[in-house]
Symmetry: C2
Subunit: 113 residues, 2 copies
Amino acid sequence: MELLEILECSPPLARKPLDAEQAAGVARVFKALGDPVRLRILSIVASRQGGEVCVCDITGAFELSQPTISHHLKVLKDVGLLTSERRASWVYYRLVPETLGELSALLNVPAAV
Amino acid sequence: MELLEILECSPPLARKPLDAEQAAGVARVFKALGDPVRLRILSIVASRQGGEVCVCDITGAFELSQPTISHHLKVLKDVGLLTSERRASWVYYRLVPETLGELSALLNVPAAV
DNA sequence: AGCCGGAATAGACCTGTGTCAATATAGATG
DNA sequence: CATCTATATTGACACAGGTCTATTCCGGCT
């Protein structure tokens, strides 16, 4: 997954201006975070004891159709924020803490100049 | 600016699921970060010695029209990531490190469970 | 006052995207 | 095999958003 590579190699924003390619890679992830439903999904997964959540639990937390939730899960998965695993009839989603951590580091601008 | 309040009161994602209102507030900021041009603008400002950049310098760094850059600056300003100050004919933009810091903290998920 | 340059705003256009209903797929179970 | 439940995919639609041109606004200068 090349996104993680970009993130891992990216110094904080203040280090030096991002080039177009780096910016495009990082923007994909932030764009995924730029939706309230996806943020809530992410926080549901993140705060879940055991670290994984069944899709049905997520669907139940929203007044949105099942395909809509499935769509959002796919977006989060595609940018490397979540992974999924099927067990029997159910699919479980987990955080990818590395991705979140890299984003966090990227935004961690040193104190005012 | 109520956004900062939301951010300041928000524990990390893993603490407990965001409610709809919190998620909407935070999503606004991430949405602003979810564009490559805006990320580059932000990194230009962040990496600038002295902490401020004239609009003309930003415009010069892209092959985009001046109104387009102005639009992106407005988006970043509206969500509290930048502030601006007019001096004579020029307008200078600065980071709001608090906002970045809060986002960084929000994403800072504790190590795997 | 009039002009000039830097920056912001307005409006139009086109693409991207969040949502849904309908359908398909996967696995379990009778 | 038939069927049921859980999840994913497809296609359609409406709205949001990035970009441009044209215009306006704001300071400084002559």
